[in-house]
Amino acid sequence: MPIDPKKHEMPTQDPSVRAHNFSEVALGYTAEVAVEEAKRCLACKNSPCVSGCPVNVDIPGFIAKMKEGDFEAAYAVIRKTSSLPAVCGRVCPQETQCESKCTLGIRFEPVGIGRLERFAADHHNSRVSERFNPPDFNGRRVAIVGSGPSGLTCAGDLARHGFKVTVFEALHLAGGVLVYGIPEFRLPKSIVAREVETLKELGVDIETNVVIGRTLTVDELFEMGYEAVFIGSGAGLPNFMNIPGEGLKGVYSANEFLTRSNLMKAYLDHSATPIMKGGAVCVVGGGNVAMDAARTALRLGADKVFIVYRRSMEELPARREEVEHAIEEGVDFRLLNNPVEILGYTNPDDPRDPKNGFVKGVRIIKMQLGEPDASGRRSPVPIEGSEYVLDADTVIMAIGTSPNPLIKSTTAGLEVNRKGGIIVGEDGLSSRENVYAGGDAVTGAATVISAMGAGKRAAKAIMEKLLK
């Protein structure tokens, strides 16, 4: 039978419908389609796909089980190396990772590895499955700071090897960016909760409402008997452009906007959390976070949503699928555009006008691409005289973050780089003995899967160190 040159399409909610609800956009394969898609895998000898996976999932191994229709066995294969399969199947940028290396992809579309992973995980999670029994305690205790993707991955790997792991989370809910950042329509929170439950079954303790650097310090964790500490405290404080008008009412960081909607549930009717809804929304930035903010604003009832990004579509860093979905849903991409000022409303006749001090628009300058900069991307240069005003009621800045200073400032001897990221070696070891770090706390804003990869490498290093 000839190989289908195209991936089986992922069924999705109709764009005109989903733009107004928070239910998941992608609906997932059926069992039949999953088996058919698995059969596209050539089972090539050197399996280059695995090298494209930051957590080295045995991709041909799980796909072989999928071909047989043994989804539970496929899940078990993924689970051996990944703590969060249902999450990765949804949010990984497969097009630049596993699928980019797929042999089939040389001539045709690569195997839909992410979609298959998602199916295997969802299939497992939808059934009442056996609880994982915690392995025998090996006598070693490890503390994890932060319950985001890197922390949960590190915790899962260690717990599977008999370590007693405690995860300290500053917020009231475990999951980190998976619960405060990535919206429900892209990653349902019930899925995150389920993955966290699975880790608890493995014996991982999760302590919410503990801020390391404040409630407890890294040194106190050692005094408490933890023998190693992994810091996966995440990206930290949002960046702003430092242009006039960022202090106006209606200007958000993407972190705040998304936290209000996701973690604090402002998207639900009768939520106790206020958020600006409706009107015209201008999102500044071109990453996944910008896409999430734009699509959330749309679902909250915005009349019009713009993505303002200073480079072109080619350089836009967001995951392809999210960009396509955003376009389908009606987000207006203003590429090679850059804000220079946010304009506010002032009623000269009435200083008590309630609209005073709210955003009314953004002054934008058009850009063109010049020479490549240090990052290798062609740097955008303003086009003189091209300024125009975009009417907007809300502006959301999604232009990255800078690491949180709390842990650095309370942990003597922990070295950070110029940008504030914790300096670590290949294995995640920091400048402090037995203190490891990974994820955005090290790299600055990056992806879920790269954070998971870092958590995994650190777990391996911790095991080697403590079991030596």
Binding site: V210, F240, T259, P274
Partner: protein, 284 residues
Amino acid sequence: MFRILHRRELNDTVTELSIHAPLVARKAKPGQFIILRVNEEGERIPLTVAGVDRDEGSVKIIFQVVGATTELLNRKREGDLIPDFVGPLGIPTHTEGINKVLIVGGGVGCAIALPVAEEFKRLGAEVTSVIGFRSKELLILEDEFRACSDRLAVMTDDGSYGRHGNVTVPLKEMLEAGERFDRIIAIGPLVMMKFVVLAAKPYGVPVTVSMNPIMIDGTGMCGGCRVTLVKDGKRVTKFACVDGPDFDGYEIDFDEAISRGRMYRDFERRAHEETCNLLKKAEV
């Protein structure tokens, strides 16, 4: 879960709670704050630490009923539990090298000013306190301030108690009379802090103000609590949750902070009314 150990009503709308939170109590210092949630669906609200009892492992908070969440919190009784209580957050009030201090508290801000005054007293500084309220009914913590202050002025806007006028009246008198302080620490409504700064400026007395902006996570993630400082003519964004809540009063852009503080005023008023109506219905 965190248990409420003691409850005390300071006036009709201001309540003090002691909450069992040993890890927070062990660390909390004057000037720091906590974040709590009243129920599983609730918002996260920041409240400044009003005192700690390390033996009991409790943290004292004092709050005024202003919105839906504080309304619900005010209905909690001794023995009740709240799901989330995290801290201590923020940087403690700077006390080193200050031997003569003027503490200015306004309204419920006095609850935050008190532990700061007590800390200075404990460290042996000369403490002058000026506390101000709209009227006698809103007066809180007078005895406590008297106990830790070498001098105390109580002001009411309407003259119904103490001296008539706002807190800047005695402040200006003292400064005009040539009295100097190593530092003024002002804690209260933004407008009050702004005017304390303006009053102190001609005399060059340093002023610390305690900012209490809108906050969500409170741990350095969301950026909602940003304030703008003006340093050497340059505007700089800082975050009250990790860089504050104390800032140099001369640098704060108060007008922006006042404006941003009103962003959700309508929403909050509505939410408070709805909560009150719901609770009334439940009581009938």
